[in-house]
């Protein structure tokens, strides 16, 4: 009795939090089927979906720019952030304090300041603005998240498992790959997800470091929403949500073994 009762409260919370998180999306979904352009309901229609797939060239270009930037910058940030978390946790060397503190900074400074200062930096070293500068900026602001999530995961790491692996004949690289990497995986995965989210979301920094023609989805959305954003964006959002949910569901088994390998 006691044990069945145990997780009830938290499960209820989980349920309500999920409801809370998805609530605005119901509105987004509903308006993507609105036949009117504005905020009043004028009947069901698929016209925005039609427009999305027939005549939204700019939107799709911005969308693919966003996806490319999100994947490359999150991957880079996850790999170098996780590696650094291990290096900084178990070894001590000169400058390790500096690296730890410097990594926090991109999280603290306001976006607009990061954006402007990076723009000044890029233009003073004559780096042409475009996809690469966006990628560099995104990787930078993703780093604190990927680093800290793995770092906190390592806090309670049981060091004896490595020694056990070494005793069983693994060399250091083997021990790293077979023992450490699986055990930090949930932290790596959370960090990666968070990085993707930050990158897909960012508007202010991207605004400054983007060059002619390299607009990402948020840039497109922000600039158009003030003057009656076209419901085409709602349609795209709904498709994106459903697609990512479908992917998460299809790969749930793979993901589970991935995370549960801890």
């Amino acid at each position: 009795m006691r044990k069945v009762h145990a997780p009830r409260f938290s499960q209820l919370c989980l349920f309500f939090v999920m409801l809370f998180l998805f609530m605005p999306l119901i509105v987004v979904a509903a308006y993507s089927f609105n036949s009117g352009h504005g905020m009043t309901w004028q009947g069901f229609s698929l016209q925005w979906y039609e427009e999305l797939f027939t005549s939204s060239h700019d939107l799709w270009r911005a969308f693919w720019n966003s996806i490319i930037i999100a994947l490359t910058s999150s991957l880079t940030a996850t790999v170098i952030g996780s590696a650094a978390a291990i290096g900084l946790k178990w070894w001590s060397f000169k400058l390790s304090g500096y690296i730890k503190v410097a990594t926090y900074l991109p999280m603290i400074l306001p976006d607009v300041i990061i954006g402007i200062s990076m723009l000044i930096f890029f233009s003073s070293i004559n780096l042409p603005l475009g996809m690469f500068t966006i990628y560099a900026a995104h990787t930078t602001f993703n780093l604190p998240f990927t680093y800290l999530l793995v770092d906190s995961r390592l806090d309670e790491f049981d060091f004896s498992t490595i020694e056990a692996a070494r005793d069983l004949g693994e060399d250091r690289k083997g021990a790293m790959l077979r023992v450490v990497v699986p055990s930090i995986m949930p932290g790596v995965l959370s960090g990666f997800l968070m990085a993707i989210t930050m990158s897909i979301e960012d508007f202010v920094i991207t605004f400054f470091v983007s060059g002619p023609g390299s607009a990402t989805l948020p840039l497109y959305v922000y600039s158009s929403i003030r003057y009656g954003v076209s419901p085409v964006i709602n349609a795209l959002s709904l498709i994106l949500i459903l697609a990512s949910m479908a992917l998460a569901f299809i790969f749930r088994r793979f993901l589970k073994s991935f995370a549960a390998s801890a």
Binding site: G36, H37, G38, M39, T40, Q42, D58, I68, T72, S73, L75, T76, V79, I80, A83, I116, L119, I120, F122, S123, S124, P128, L129, M131, F132, Y135, M176, F207, F208, V209, S210, G211, P212, G213, A215, L219, Y220, Y222, S223, S224, I225, R226, Y227, G228
Partner: protein, 345 residues
Amino acid sequence: MTRILSLVLAAALTLLSSCGGDGTRTLHIYNWTYYMPDEVITAFEEEYDCDVVIDYFSSNEEMFAKLQAGGGRGYDIVFPSADYTSIMIKLGMLAPIDHAMIPNLQYIPDIVKQVATYDPGMEYSVPYFMGAAGIAVNTTLAPPDYERSWMIFADERLAGRMTLLDDMREVMGDALKTLGYSNNSTSPDEVQEAARLVADEWKPNIVKFDAESFAKSFARGEFAVVHCYAENIIAEMSAEELEKVDFFLPETGGSMYIDNMVILKDAPEKELAHQFINFIHEPENYAIFLDEFSFPPTTNTAAAAYMETTPLYTAEDLEGYEVIADLGEDLDMYNKLWEPIRYMD
């Protein structure tokens, strides 16, 4: 681990640098959001066999901050308003306009050129559109005898259902005009009086200073009176809904804007840029733009003949309206007075 790292970096770099061009000319435009019909752009691309790539900004200051910090390289045409056009001319950021390449300049009326005191000869800028922000009233929500002037914001019956633009120069300019002064006044007494009018009589009745989302809330009936540009309202409401909306420019006058097309000094495609400006001012093309936003033909009189809609206001309504000019050092005085109005309860 290092090998994985370099692999990831290499992969990222190839992905990022793989986007290249195919030889056709590309015109890069930096424009306000939602300020040019797609139709016209596609027609230009076909006629001149080129690509037009547009990036957007949503305020002059935003655009200017980016250009200031060195982020303007690669753009050909930018669309600054009057005050920023004069700043950009002063700072030597623009290329001269070759009038021989733009015969359609003939359609720009003298009145616009007179108002554009910073560049009356169109040496560095070509006016794109001249207009003004006004007031939109939802007549089903407002009392029948509402005042058709800026003092509508002092009407306590509408308290909590009105918004003013989150734009210091617009709001302060309208207050100065209401008091009978110039909206570019640099007299401390006048500006202070205007700030008091905004703070004591208008601000208590408005929900917030909003330049972002008010049009949506106005369309839904959350707000009854909004200070806005005509295109904000057009974008959110159907023709049917617009029937219950009274959009007007108060007769006491107010702030007016001219948005210009300018060519940057380092523009890579200067010739194409001139051709584009000429194409835009072709009366037939220009009329498409006016129709889409329900604008009056203030800046290209010949386009009137091709228009299919009736604009929300007319060129005559702009009588008494004054262009927002660059105030130089005196802007600080405005900023100081505006701070407590904008940031405090």
